[in-house]
């Protein structure tokens, strides 16, 4: 049973990490508390629903299209909500309030338009078979999530560390004004960051919707709390930290539920958050900030 529980935990953790990747990028690089992120997660899931149910696309076509669609929404919404604030260099709390209002409006509009019902992607989209390896069961959707999470982490790290674009983004995160003086188009770079994190959120929504079979307008909101834990414990803007913290959170939740009490699952997870904030406010892995990545 322990082996199955550990696998359950790693898989749950992978979903947390997958969700947190785009969030940590947006939050850590743009230095803006942007609560609209959860909406791109819901939007990606609903786009994939429309693409697979109405247009009959397969998962491999629907996944990138939904991700790009969510990315485009992210650029538009961030521009609409945050440009004015950025220009005035206002306090962080302002962006919190504006994006909180914005995201609640978006969720409500989405619910009014699409209805609150829980939906799922077409059942045959990926094989429903489980593989049994040494008594441990794992489904195709779960393998997909694990693979996608690792792949996206690798791609993001390569982008941030190995490309001029990554350099520009990091420079901008460090000192936006100086980066602008150095000839970096900061408006374009932040739009790109919005786009990438929107895509990541959208892709997360598709894959997690596929795994848990529960697509509804507020699905992003329920993930946000876990997302906060993961990016704070992992360190703001720390991509590897998000992966490690996500998996750790998943494993801890599952082991608590499996061996102590399922009622304490969340209490333990959030107690860890508080403990980390007390002892290592820069995040467990200390390196924090991708600015120095």
């Amino acid at each position: 049973m322990l082996a199955q529980q550990l696998v359950n935990g790693v898989l749950l953790g992978a979903t947390y990490a997958l969700f947190a990747l785009g969030f940590t990028l947006m939050f850590g690089v743009l230095r803006v508390i942007n609560l609209t992120y959860g909406f791109y997660f819901s939007a990606g899931a609903f786009l994939s629903l429309a693409l697979t149910r109405q247009l009959g696309l397969g998962i491999w076509a629907a996944l990138p299209l939904a991700a790009i669609g969510a990315g485009i929404m992210a650029v538009g919404i961030d521009w609409l909500l945050l440009t004015r604030l950025r220009r005035r260099a206002t306090a962080e709390l302002d962006s919190l309030m504006v994006t909180l209002g914005g995201v609640l409006a978006l969720y409500s509009a989405m619910t009014a338009w699409l209805g609150p019902d829980i939906r799922r992607l077409p059942p045959g989209l990926v094989s429903a078979d489980s593989f049994v390896i040494a008594g441990v069961r794992i489904t195709t959707a779960q393998i997909l999530i694990l693979g996608a999470t690792l792949l996206l982490v690798a791609l993001l790290l390569a982008l941030m560390r190995g490309t001029r674009l990554g350099l520009a983004i990091r420079a901008m995160a460090e000192k936006p004004d100086a980066a602008g003086l150095m000839g970096i188009n900061t408006a374009r770079a932040s739009a790109l960051v919005s786009f990438i994190s929107g895509c990541l959120g959208g892709a997360g929504g598709v894959l997690i919707g596929l795994n848990f079979n529960a697509i509804h307008p507020y699905m992003g909101e329920t993930m946000m709390l876990r997302g906060f834990v993961v990016i704070i414990v992992g360190g703001l803007g720390d991509i590897r930290g998000a992966l490690i913290a996500g998996v750790a959170l998943g494993v801890i939740e599952v082991l608590t539920a499996g061996y102590i009490s399922s009622g304490l699952k969340e209490a333990v997870a959030f107690a860890i958050l508080v403990a980390v904030l007390w002892t290592r406010p820069q995040g467990l892995f200390g390196r924090a900030v991708m600015r120095r990545a």
């Binding site: 979903t15 619910t111 609150p116 939906r119 489980s130 079979n213 529960a214 599952v254 009490s261 009622g263």
Partner: protein, 373 residues
Amino acid sequence: MMRRTLAIALLAMPALAQSQPVMAQPIQVGAIEILSGPNAAYGVAIKGGLDLALDEINAKGILGGRKIQLTVEDSAANKDQAINAARKLIGRDKVVAIIGPTLSNEMFAVGPVTNERKIPTLGTSTTASGITEIGPYIFRTSLPESDVIPVTLKAAQARGVKTIALMYANDDAFSKSGFDVMKAAAEKAGLSILAIESFGSKDTDFSAQLTKIKSLKPDAIGLSALVEPVSGVLLQARSLGFGKETLFIGGNGSNSPKLGEIAGPAADGLIVGSPWFIGKKADNNEAFVAAYKAKYSRDPDQFAAQAYDAMKIMAGAIDRAGAAEPEKVRDALAKTDSSGVMGPFRFTEGRDPATAAGVVVLVMKAGKFAVLE
């Protein structure tokens, strides 16, 4: 929603200003239901049932040709919002009675307020124990779980179930009280309880709890939660390798066609006790199902049926009260003796439904409920 509330407020204003003879004015009745958020499926079904009954009531009129004006407020499954809705209905809309709210934990919040203001309040879907003990103005038409679950467990035992594991959502009064009832009923029936696991009603991952239960190999798993998490549990149970050897037993929350829509074949074999069934052979029931389908082009569920009956029971009480006054409506409501799509209906002294004779045990087959043979 907003615009409608506004429109109703505007309509009400001249009436307040002029204080003319009230004969032709509609009788204000309020309802508080979950119309948004993850649990809106219940409120939407209930509102459907209420509106359908209202069409029939207003076609004839009560108290000598007056109509009922029903104002439905959204609680979004939030206790505070439900209380605000109740205050608004009582203070601004001057309702004579309130139907709802949807969930038992909302009723525990709203009931004390409406009871204090002496507004008769009729729960149509509040099955937790202790609801009507809130006060003399709190009624319910929904059979409490304690009347339904023993019938379900008896059917399970007839299929050879001796050991059971229980799972429930621990953040919702409805699910928790259903679990308490299920646990007590299982003990009384002599079943041995191997494990008790909980989860949050908005959780999507249940793998840890299910893996633990699987290692204990119970004959059955009893589930007390709303339909969304129940669907999630079933889907994940199948992918973790639970097969036909484990009988899933649902509480009242599982009793919704949504279960088949969300969980599909994963829900097959689940049994649940129900005070109402769409395929029940009775003239008024068949007419109700046909009218509901014609109006909403979808099947009614138990919540719609309960709401349909409740609206008629309320209208009947107002009519018999002889005046649209909360006090008189309360007394008339207590003397209800009617017959609806759920069967014959009376209240006990404690304002709960008096009979559980109509309970049927259903089984999920290919995404739809059928009567368990």
